[in-house]
């Protein structure tokens, strides 16, 4: 087994295990920390595919910024009590059914893409490097790129406006 195959399996197990721990942890702070571990494992997968920029940005934005805000809210609201109020039986059932439905949809959507996934190159190719990415974004995809930046800007202005109300 080559080094990249070993890394792939280690990262996959880490990602799946930490993702399961996010859902099953009773303490919300532990959930957030397991979610950070999940992001790191996924970033490792990006690096295996040589998508370095995506890997780094995933850590900066998700693990470094968004998760800090999650921790902020949980710490300030003092949601650290291990004992949560017991949920209703039918609520658990509804959760199970909707989660299962989502799984079904995802499996149905992904089962035909098997051919494509085999074509993804490991440890080679420069599609994920910042030069290729920048040239693609500012030539072929410049209109979607600029549109999404306007969307982000308006969301930011909206957030500031809501924050200023009181």
């Amino acid at each position: 087994m080559s080094i990249s195959a070993i890394l792939f399996w280690v990262l996959s197990v880490a990602a799946l295990f930490s993702a399961l721990m996010v859902v099953t942890s009773r303490n919300p702070i532990h959930s957030v920390i397991w979610l950070i571990v999940t992001f790191f494992a996924i970033s490792g997968h990006y690096i295996l595919l040589n998508a370095q920029f995506l890997a780094v940005v995933n850590i900066i934005v998700y693990a470094g910024a968004i998760m800090v805000l999650f921790l902020f809210v949980i710490m300030l609201m003092n949601l650290n009590k291990e004992s949560e109020p017991a949920r209703h039986r039918w609520l658990q059932l509804a959760g199970g059914v909707s989660g299962g439905a989502l799984l079904l949809v995802l499996v149905a959507a992904l089962k035909d893409t098997e051919l494509k996934s085999q074509q993804s190159l490991m440890l080679e190719g420069n599609t994920g490097l910042i030069k290729t990415l920048g040239q693609e974004l500012f030539s072929n995809y410049v209109i979607p790129f600029e549109l999404s930046s306007i969307l982000f800007l308006s969301a930011m202005v909206g957030a500031v406006l809501i924050g200023k109300k009181d």
Binding site: S2, Q52, I60, G64, V68, L76, N80, L129
Partner: protein, 349 residues
């Protein structure tokens, strides 16, 4: 033995390099603590520590030994694992950043080139920023797991301060990247060797970056997470023994690494100023040694400025800190970015 495309010799070379960089970081951090106290003494017209060894040069060892032998107390109510994870994370994150810094000119030998950089990756400086953005967790997890209101308040202060000052820092960085055109640390250095140091073209960018580095390292005047008169001791209040030592030590390693990053980005890295060292015809190992010493001289100067500021400027109030970050530094950094872009476009056309 060959694992994939990697030879055993390559692994050995990198392991030695990593070990020596970690050793160097610890050594410099140790002596920065002494320098801090000596310079404080000098500025306040007193001797500073002078008991352990001649001129007090054994003082850091005495301090470290003291911390090791102190009783270790874990508060009963705290979360044991997270309580341990906090200082460990602070230390790991402080050390990891040094992987992408080129510590000197590569040594050319008969068998190949030995790079004095652990990893010269395409993302270079962005790796530094991703590690910095993860650095918040050491403080936050430690402060929360202490189960102390003062620690929690200090941790939240520290985290919001670090998140706020990352923004102007990255905006100041973008102006540098406009000029160098690469994220690779080695290429940023070689650009500066050919075209002059970035601080000449980006003085405002350097100033913003330096102020943000002060805030990221929780140094005075931005040391609000450990403001003693408001928060007793700050986020590491419940810590004792070497766990406290890790937090205090991580601060000095952070100072060292951020000085090295600033020297690489703005002060030409290992470039020797005013001369063209390529014409000297020195032996490659000697040239690498000299370039490494030059980088260390720049780092030492920046460390001195860090300490100098600590004993000169009083601490900011929290609202002043946030005002400075969001209302002054971010617009200033944006202005710097737009101006640099406009001038570069004008020069190119």
């Amino acid at each position: 033995m060959v694992i994939g495309a990697v030879t055993l010799w390559f692994i050995l070379e990198k392991v030695i390099l990593i070990a020596s960089i970690i050793g160097l970081s610890f050594f410099i951090a140790m002596y920065t603590t002494l320098a801090e106290r000596k310079i404080a003494g000098w500025m306040q017209d007193r001797h500073g520590p002078n008991r352990a060894g001649p001129f007090g040069i054994l003082q850091p060892l005495a301090d470290g030994g003291k911390l090791f032998f102190k009783e270790e107390i874990t508060p009963v109510t705290s979360n044991r694992f997270l309580f341990l994870l906090g200082p460990a994370l602070a230390m790991i994150v402080a050390l990891v950043t040094s992987t992408v810094i080129p510590w000197g000119a590569p040594v050319v030998t008969s068998t190949g080139i030995i790079s004095l950089q652990v990893a010269d990756v395409d993302m270079g400086i962005l790796i530094v920023f991703s590690v910095v953005s993860v650095g918040v967790y050491g403080i936050m997890i430690g402060g929360w797991a202490s189960n102390n209101k003062f620690s929690l308040l200090a941790a939240i202060r520290g985290a919001s301060q670090m998140v706020s000052y990352e923004l102007p820092m990255s905006l100041a960085l973008i102006a540098v990247l406009f000029m160098t055109g690469s994220l690779k640390m080695s290429e940023i250095v070689s650009y500066q060797m050919a075209n002059g140091w970035n601080i000449i073209y980006q003085p405002l960018g350097f100033l913003i970056f330096f102020i943000c580095a002060l805030a990221e390292c929780n140094r005075t005047p931005f040391d609000l997470p450990e403001a003693e008169n408001e928060l007793n001791f700050g986020y590491h209040q419940e810590y004792s023994s070497m766990k406290l030592g890790f937090y205090l030590f991580a601060e000095y390693i952070n100072m060292f690494v951020s000085s090295a990053v600033m020297a690489t980005l703005f002060l030409g890295g290992y470039d020797i100023p005013f001369v063209n060292e390529a014409n000297w015809g020195l032996a490659p190992w000697l040239y690498s040694l000299i370039s490494f010493s030059v980088l260390m001289a720049k780092v030492s100067f920046l460390l001195f400025v860090f300490i100098w500021i600590r004993w000169t400027i009083p601490r900011f109030r929290y609202d002043q800190l946030m005002n400075l970050g969001w209302r002054k530094l971010i617009p200033l950094a944006l202005f710097n970015m737009v101006l640099s872009a406009a001038i570069l476009l004008w020069l190119k056309s």
